[in-house]
């Protein structure tokens, strides 16, 4: 690996981490679309900043552009507050307006300078190592590495300092307010960090793909854990993995780095979406199938418990009585047999002692809905796992 390759992967990874942190909270606050809005509407900020500073990496430009991000949020909230339109409509009204102002400003004034819409929207990570930061004549590395590094450092410090405030205001705004943690301050703090990160990352991965780095890792992590800290750690992990792996995909395919990173993010999400142990599509389908089977089993056992008459307990009669297809009856009978819940003698089914106890307990549970009574049954049966 050349030093440029290492630098590119390092920049991509830092961007991924800087995005994953605010992204996790955006996802939990159901504000994913706000990051999309911010990523577009910072364009006029970048353009104005560029006219003033003539340097895409200037901190002043970053602050100006981030400020446009905050304006977006304020405008969206203002329009929403009138009650005339819903939040998603307000978002859809505000960011195209701001974005198009940026597009017109570029077209009118910046045709002859190094600033075009493509560069802002798509970025070009491959060029990042060429723009060096030189202090006192020494080359200290790519400028964008320093910028995103600084932003990441600030983000991590804020996260560590205000983790509890972020958590409580994200989970329960009312409680946060009553405890004296102003949800407005935390909200705008998070919006500021998201805006600054978006601007800082735009010339690396482009303003649009920043959205993918904010939302996809967090959405993926959300499917895998029920712990906020782990969700943050997993988001960061998925972000770094996608950044590095995406770089190499781009290398092999000779394609856009940002595009490849985003594709990897999407694929990682897809894999987790399908195969996540408890929330994944396949796990859910399997669980539902098991539950269907167990409800059938319980129905069947209950029928046996309610009927002493031989005629009601004949294997063949069961089809008609409970009104099931043959296959389903068969699989339920097998399940009951396998669990030693029933005996079959001369085609007559009867409950075993175990089956009898199980049925009573299960019915008891369904009626009282008391968890403690069935703790020991949970291992055998999905049905009672809630």
């Amino acid at each position: 690996m050349s030093s440029a390759q290492i630098e590119i992967q390092l920049i991509a990874s830092l961007v991924a981490v800087a995005c994953a942190i605010p992204g996790t909270f955006l996802v939990l606050r159901k504000m994913a679309m706000i990051s999309d809005a911010i990523s577009h509407s910072i364009l006029p900020g970048i353009v104005i900043g560029f006219f003033i500073t003539h340097d895409l990496n200037s901190p002043l430009l970053i602050l100006l552009a981030a400020f446009t991000g905050i304006i977006t949020v304020v405008l969206v909230e203002y329009i929403q507050k009138t009650g005339l339109v819903k939040e998603d409509t307000a978002i859809g009204l505000v960011f195209p307006a701001l974005f198009s102002i940026g597009v017109i400003m570029i077209a009118k004034n910046a045709n002859d300078v190094h600033l075009d819409v493509d560069a802002v929207l798509l970025g070009e990570l491959a060029f990042a190592p060429f723009d060096r930061l030189i202090i006192g004549g020494t080359d200290v590395g790519p400028k964008s590495l320093w910028i995103i590094g600084m932003i990441l450092l600030i983000t991590i410090s804020l996260l560590i300092a205000f983790f509890k405030e972020l958590k409580v205001s994200t989970f329960d705004k009312g409680l946060a307010a009553s405890l004296g943690f102003s949800p407005a301050i935390i909200h705008y703090g998070l919006m500021s960090v998201s805006s600054v990160t978006t601007v800082g990352a735009f010339d690396a991965v482009g303003a649009i793909l920043v959205v993918a780095l904010m939302i996809a890792p967090a959405a993926t992590a959300y499917l895998l854990t029920t712990d906020l800290k782990k969700m943050l750690a997993l988001s960061i992990g998925f972000g770094i993995f996608s950044a590095v792996f995406g770089y190499w995909v781009a290398h092999w395919l000779d394609a856009s780095i940002a595009g490849s990173i985003t594709t990897v993010l999407g694929l990682v999400f897809l894999l987790v979406y399908l195969f996540a142990p408890s929330k994944g599509v396949i796990a859910v389908m399997y669980r539902e199938k098991q539950q269907r089977k167990e409800v059938s089993l319980l129905t069947f056992l209950l029928h046996l418990k309610n009927h002493d008459e031989i005629s009601e307990r004949h294997v063949k009669h069961l089809n008609e009585h409970i009104n099931w297809q043959k296959v389903r009856s068969r699989s339920v009978l097998d399940l009951a047999l396998k669990n030693n819940m029933i005996d079959i003698e001369n085609q007559i089914v009867s409950l075993t002692k175990k089956g009898d106890e199980f049925t009573s307990k299960a019915i008891d549970y369904i009626i009282t809905n008391r968890d403690a009574q069935i703790e020991d049954m949970k291992d055998d049966f999905f049905l009672f796992r809630g």
């Binding site: 939990l28 159901k30 009650g83 300092a161 205000f162 983790f163 509890k164 405030e165 958590k167 409580v168 994200t170 989970f171 329960d172 705004k173 009312g174 409680l175 307010a177 009553s178 405890l179 004296g180 943690f181 959300y222 854990t225 029920t226 712990d227 906020l228 782990k230 969700m231 809905n369 968890d371 403690a372 809630g386």
Partner: protein, 245 residues
């Protein structure tokens, strides 16, 4: 009942988009009562609590807690929002939600430690939820979630408790468990204010009641003012309570 006044509300008016939902409320809640706020849907019951707690900004009027503004008295007040106001899929555990009750006394930046954890575990035990401390909150039943919220308020060790419909969507056994805890709080000298829907249980559960319908209709001891007259004024229809003692 010439008690200390725990909560005093003066000329409070709250509006949403310039439409008053609470109009010129004067209210004095004596220390040590277990009070129900009753009124029809849209009467402003939750709004009243939120305005007292500074979550909503009133357009007029003031609130004091033991004679001082709420901002200075946060430590004395605990709040249980409506269960439906939060996302129960949030990635956290029962214990962690209860720990949030300690955040107020910690203030900004400082993190909860062993002391806070111990307090949270004790509160979980009081509401009978210790066995579920590690359970992800979406895996709890509605009644259990309500108990977790109650535990979170208990851990604040406040003097005044505000609860927004704590009995909503809970089963009978949880309702009894909750009301017993509220009665125990009153016994310990705390003031408990509950937004309540079930008029049948008011005389049984509460000793103080406020009738609210945008304006305050009446407030006082249940035995004196919980009558057909006030119910009719509040709900606008002829109300007959057969449960009067």
């Amino acid at each position: 009942m010439e008690n200390t006044i725990a909560v005093k509300v003066d000329d409070l008016t709250v509006a949403y988009n310039y439409k008053p939902v609470l109009w010129d409320i004067d209210l004095e809640i004596p220390e040590g009562v277990l009070m129900a706020i009753v009124g029809p849907n849209g009467a402003g019951k939750s709004t009243l609590i939120k305005a007292i707690l500074g979550i909503l900004k009133p357009i007029a009027g003031s609130v004091s807690i033991y004679g001082k503004p709420y901002e200075k008295q946060r430590q004395l007040v605990a709040y249980v929002p409506q269960k439906g106001s939060v996302d129960w899929d949030f990635p956290t555990t029962a214990l962690d939600v209860v720990m949030m009750g300690t955040y107020g006394s910690l203030g900004w930046i400082k993190r909860p430690g062993q002391k806070e954890k111990k307090a949270a575990l004790e509160a979980l035990e009081k509401v009978g939820m210790l066995a579920f401390k590690g359970r992800q909150i979406s895996q709890l039943s509605g009644g259990q979630q309500q108990r977790i919220f109650l535990a979170r308020a208990l851990v604040q060790n406040a003097s005044i408790y505000f609860m927004d419909e704590p009995f909503q969507g809970v089963d009978a056994s949880t309702e009894i468990a909750i009301i017993n805890i509220l009665k125990a709080l009153r016994k310990a000298g705390k003031t408990v204010i509950v937004v309540h829907h079930d008029l049948q249980t008011v005389p049984e559960y509460f000793d103080w009641v406020t009738f609210l319908n945008v304006k305050k209709i009446a407030t006082g001891p249940v035995k004196d003012i919980f009558n057909d007259d006030n119910l009719t004024k509040t709900y606008g229809i002829n109300y007959k309570v057969s449960i009067q003692e």
